[in-house]
């Protein structure tokens, strides 16, 4: 008798109509049928021969094809006599040494107070995302790099306004001098000064879109990312807000700059103080399994759970917003994607946010 063993780093997420197979080692996910899932389940408690015996002649061919597929993709392997019991399942617990791992700052310049830099160090923050509505000079970038020299910060992503000084030379200098920048996005750029051909240390993007802080949170196939740590975090915690802190343009400390709740202002409160607020971590343990609609979706383990923009339809007993993210056009019940902003059921929520945005701009 032969037995099929699924590798422990292959995660199967079952949706309403399909499954998503995520290869957590090779950082890759693909959609497959529920039929394949049934076969995988049967192979967990029966030998290959016994599973074949369950099917009629015609289906046996299909079964063989599925089995070949699983082996060719190296999703598993076949053993004789019994399953190889020495391969234990993956433990899905998530642990991270930092108190806060991500900080998202909306700012007008790249000058950070010594207090803020110290707080970033104290909290063990590894990743910094900066959203900036103004034009930044080469000097600004270099000063930023300098600010975090010798710190525990590992990576920086910057969204900033495109301007004419951003040319070949500018970017080459950045590449030479900066270690931590891993992603640079220049927005509102109608005409990039040069073609992005060189491979830099960082990922470089010029976009004609005028990004705003409320451009964040879009859900789309192209933003999905299969990565073991992110998936483990998503299984145990909120995939966007866990261990995240935000500072908005006015210095208010929040879960992310686009959220409403403020836990103090950086001019008077330290980040360490802000996270002690009883509500600061309230979303940290809300996983997709607690979110309406998402809980039935095959993408739930690789999707980001935006809490700043939601459909605003459901609250749980603790007052947490458990509605589906607003900017997702996917319907797991029909397996169809459509343009989220045109959905009639979302108009009320969309309006409520744009009104807020108006107040906010004023």
């Amino acid at each position: 008798m032969r037995y099929f063993n699924l590798f422990s780093d292959i995660l199967i997420t079952k949706g309403v109509n399909r499954i998503l197979i995520s290869d957590l080692q090779r950082n890759y996910s693909e959609l497959q049928s529920l039929e394949l899932n049934n076969i995988i389940e049967e192979l967990k408690s029966n030998s290959i021969e016994d599973v074949f015996a369950l099917y009629d002649q015609e289906s046996k061919e299909m079964l063989q094809e599925y089995l070949n597929f699983l082996v060719e993709k190296e999703y598993g392997f076949i053993t004789e006599n019994s399953w190889d019991e020495n391969f234990p399942p993956l433990q899905t617990d998530f642990s991270d040494s930092s108190t806060i791992s991500n900080i998202f700052i909306e700012t007008a310049d790249l000058m950070f107070s010594p207090q803020l830099v110290q707080s970033i160090e104290n909290l063990g923050i590894r990743h910094l995302v900066i959203y900036c509505e103004s034009k930044l000079s080469l000097m600004d970038f270099l000063t930023l790099e300098d600010t975090f020299n010798d710190s525990c910060l590992e990576s920086i992503e910057i969204f900033s306004l495109y301007h004419e000084d951003v040319n070949d030379d500018f970017v080459k200098k950045l590449d030479e001098k900066c270690l931590r920048i891993y992603s640079l996005i220049f927005h509102k750029c109608d005409n990039a000064a040069f073609e992005v051909t060189d491979t830099f240390k960082f990922n470089l993007v010029f976009t004609d879109q005028h990004l705003k802080i409320n451009s964040c949170g879009k859900v789309d196939l192209k933003y999905f990312e299969t990565n073991m740590l992110k998936v483990l975090e998503a299984i145990n915690h909120n995939s966007c807000l866990h261990k995240k802190i935000g500072i908005d343009i006015n210095g208010n400390i929040k879960n992310c700059p686009a959220m409403c709740n403020s836990f103090g202002n950086i001019n008077t409160t330290t980040l360490e103080e802000a996270i002690l607020h009883e509500d600061f971590k309230k979303y940290w343990n809300l996983t997709k399994s607690g979110i309406q609609i998402c809980k039935d979706c095959e993408f739930r383990n690789i999707c980001t759970d935006c809490r700043a923009f939601t459909e605003q339809t459901h609250k749980n007993n603790d007052g947490l917003d458990i509605s589906k993210p607003l900017k997702c056009g996917y319907n797991p019940y029909t397996s169809q994607w459509e343009e989220w902003s045109l959905n009639p059921l979302k108009q009320k929520a969309i309006q409520s946010y744009s009104m807020q945005q108006l107040n906010y701009d004023a």
Binding site: F7, Q25, S95, G124
Partner: protein
């Protein structure tokens, strides 16, 4: 207070330190460029460098990772005095090292470098299966395609050799005879493997990973030759209890309580290959979500 002896910018050390900070455990990190002087105050011994200063009795546990404690050595003009003072200093240095190593520790400065040949001999004694090996200066006894060579050194890289920046000496299968004799070389029987197993070992515990590359010709002999297109699969694995017991015995014999240990699984057999005390184990361990850094921080 925990004492960490390591090198600058060493990633494993940095990751463990993040956990120590998170756990609120106090530590001192000593780096390779520090030179200590031994001093006393109120009958207590302390050692001091440009960066660090601590009493020996303050230290509760020691993690030896890389580098080592270095001491200032004073010389004297008078030959006889100098001979005496050299010995005098030697015993003081020795005392400091021995005292630190007698505390709760992870590896020791005095025996962290392992001799591959000696380790294989000891492994056989504990009853582990070891692929046949021998030393030779020619290929007369080599069975072609069934024999490999590999370096005996801990460091398997060569800097600036010929036109290469850095060369790595991979395990290599012998496919032809050499006419000339050469410098004494380590030969070993090539084992047809199902897959390799790398265990991170910490004070009796095993965190094992199967490194599966059998579908891939390019990684067949040595998994360090990564195939980036289709990377090896690193998944959790439990070694048989009997193999763990024998390996534990080996580690006790070698007086090493932390390191990574390589095996080859070939049908029913588990062949022991080597122990590495300084290597990077984080990559393989993190693919299995073992949290080895956290385990080290907890132990200290």
């Amino acid at each position: 207070m925990i004492l960490i002896i390591s090198k600058k910018q060493e990633t494993t050390t940095n990751e463990v330190i993040k956990w120590l900070l998170a756990m609120g455990k106090k530590f001192i990190r000593v780096q390779e460029d520090e030179v200590f002087e031994i001093k006393t105050k109120e009958k207590r011994i302390y050692i001091e460098s440009d960066r660090n200063c601590f009493y020996l009795d303050e230290i509760s546990s020691v993690w030896y990772r890389r580098g080592g404690l270095k001491f200032k050595n004073f010389h004297y003009d008078n030959h006889s005095v100098n001979i005496h003072m050299q010995e005098h200093q030697h015993w003081l240095h020795d005392y400091v090292i021995k005292t630190l190593e007698s505390k709760k520790h992870i590896n020791k400065q005095s025996n962290s470098a392992v001799n591959k040949l000696f380790v294989l001999e000891q492994a056989k004694k504990t009853g582990l299966d070891v692929p046949e090996y021998y030393l030779a200066e020619n290929t007369c006894d080599v069975v072609l395609d069934k024999t490999i060579i590999k370096p005996l050194t801990g460091n398997i890289t060569i800097d600036a050799y010929q036109n290469y920046g850095e060369s790595i000496m991979y395990t290599h299968v012998i496919d032809r005879q050499e006419e000339d004799s050469f410098f004494i070389t380590f030969f070993q029987e090539k084992i047809e493997k199902d897959f390799e197993i790398r265990s991170f070992y910490l004070n009796g515990r095993f965190f094992s990973t199967a490194i599966i590359s059998q579908n891939d010709e390019r990684t067949k002999t040595d998994f360090r030759k990564y195939n980036l297109e289709k990377p090896n699969r690193n998944v959790r694995y439990n070694l048989p209890i009997e193999i763990e017991r024998k390996t534990r015995q080996l580690m006790e014999l070698l007086d090493i309580n932390c390191g990574s240990i390589d095996f080859i699984k070939s049908e029913e057999k588990f062949y022991f290959l080597e122990v590495n005390t300084v290597g990077q184990f984080l990559g393989v361990s993190s693919m299995c979500n073992y949290g080895a850094e956290k385990a080290i921080a907890e132990y200290l």
